[in-house]
């Protein structure tokens, strides 16, 4: 399975649309959020991606 890391503040806007619902299921995803507010609302995306906070993984 292909692996992808996405760095974002969580405001996907038009980037992530319904046409990507199947894609996220086929990719091993890690999402690294810039800030501590979790702006991602799509449940399909949340179920298929590990979501971590940037501040928690930098020293």
């Amino acid at each position: 399975m292909k692996k992808a890391i996405i760095f974002t503040d969580g405001y996907f806007g038009g980037v992530y649309g319904s046409e990507n619902l199947e894609t996220v299921k086929k990719v091993d995803l890690l999402t690294i959020l810039f800030d501590l507010s979790d702006h991602i609302e799509d449940t399909t995306y949340k179920e298929n991606s590990e979501i971590v906070f940037l501040d928690n993984i930098v020293e």
Binding site: V15, D28, S37
Partner: protein, 352 residues
């Protein structure tokens, strides 16, 4: 009479785990010129004795008003505009956090002080400043719910209230000194905008290690300190697990030297005959055509955290095969270009 010992004891008693916050306060001074209670850039807690006498009934109330002032610093409220509606929003956010957020709710007896202090007020904006207001028939019901479910930030709430409240709306019952140094009623040397957060922050960091940053994260995530530490550990573990590839072959053996390991070279230098060579495998993802693809959001809101991201990318560069930056358009780039600071961005986030 409010002494430094009294203040620190109140914090210690109500929240032993957060007692380091008491370091932010260096002394206490009675000052009848201020309406309620406030803190200045030196960490001096200024208070009006009449206010303390009338409204502070026990250590819960004292803890609540002290934390209210300190939270203005922690939330960087000194950087926001000093207008009436912003002040209402900032106070409402703090009161909600102290009344509802994990850890603080118990220490403040679910916002007992705010319930009493604003109990005689039935209208906007003062009803926003206490928990337990009955808002069923109000147009501000949803706003109130958002505040007291701790889902709004100060920035969000200021904008919401500025678009929904009348421009002349103000509360004459806010805690602290919200008037600024230009007001003749303001005590001298109070609320020097911008320097308070920096100086108190450095003071806490100097005496308490990373506790100040940790506390900020705890408040932002609405988690307890234990949960926050566990979340940090879990996040690091998730990244390590994701980037670790157990199937990568590190060495392979052959009867002829192809890419001898350092061990083989040492043995060879020592005069040993080597029958099977341990060859090093080039594990860089680029040479294998596999690895991880990175998509980096470089829209306008993300520029301040890019140095941290580049640090992470550098740490995992061997596993990264491709990297794309995206804002309103997605562009393939390479790590060397990124590390030089050359980032192509169109600042927005609409790529539909």
């Amino acid at each position: 009479m409010l002494t430094l010992t009294t203040v620190r004891q109140a914090i210690n008693t109500r929240m032993p785990g957060y007692s380091f916050i008491g370091l932010a306060i260096t002394s206490t001074v009675a000052n009848p010129d201020i309406p309620t209670i406030g803190i200045n850039k030196e960490g001096v807690l200024l208070y009006n004795p009449d206010f303390i006498q009338e409204h502070i009934k026990d250590d819960v109330d004292l803890f609540t008003v002290i934390m209210h002032e300190i939270f203005h610093i922690l939330y960087h409220h000194v950087f926001y505009a000093n207008d009436d509606i912003s002040n209402i929003a900032m106070d409402a956010i703090i009161n909600a956090t102290l009344s509802k957020a994990t850890d603080f709710s118990e220490a403040t007896a679910k916002g007992k002080f705010f319930r009493n202090y604003y109990k005689d007020f039935k209208t906007i904006p003062n009803v926003l400043l206490r928990p337990g207001s009955k808002m069923e028939d109000s147009i501000y019901k949803q706003v109130y719910k958002t505040i007291y479910e701790c889902k709004a930030t100060s920035f969000d709430l200021i904008n919401i209230l500025k678009t929904t409240l009348p421009a002349e709306c103000k509360s004459d019952r806010l805690l602290g000194n919200h008037r600024g140094p230009q007001d003749p009623r303001a005590p001298q040397d109070t609320l020097d905008v911008g320097t308070i957060a920096t100086e108190l922050g450095s003071k806490l960091q100097g005496d308490g290690g990373g506790l100040f940053e940790l506390l900020k994260k705890v408040l932002e995530q609405h988690l307890s300190i234990k949960q926050s530490l566990l979340k940090r550990f879990a996040d690091k573990l998730a990244v390590d697990t994701f980037t670790f590839d157990a199937n990568v072959k590190r060495v392979f053996r052959s009867p002829v030297p192809i890419r001898p390991s350092r061990r083989d070279m040492v043995l060879l230098a020592g005069g040993y005959d080597i029958v099977f060579w341990n060859n090093v495998v080039d594990t860089s993802a680029r040479s294998k055509g596999g690895g991880i693809t990175v998509y980096l959001d470089v829209s306008g809101s993300c520029d301040t955290v890019l140095p941290k991201i580049l640090g992470i990318l550098k740490r995992h560069r061997k596993q990264i095969s491709k990297i794309y930056t995206w804002s309103t358009e997605c562009v393939e780039t390479d790590l060397d270009t990124l590390f030089k600071g050359e980032i192509h961005t169109t600042w927005g986030t609409n790529i539909a």
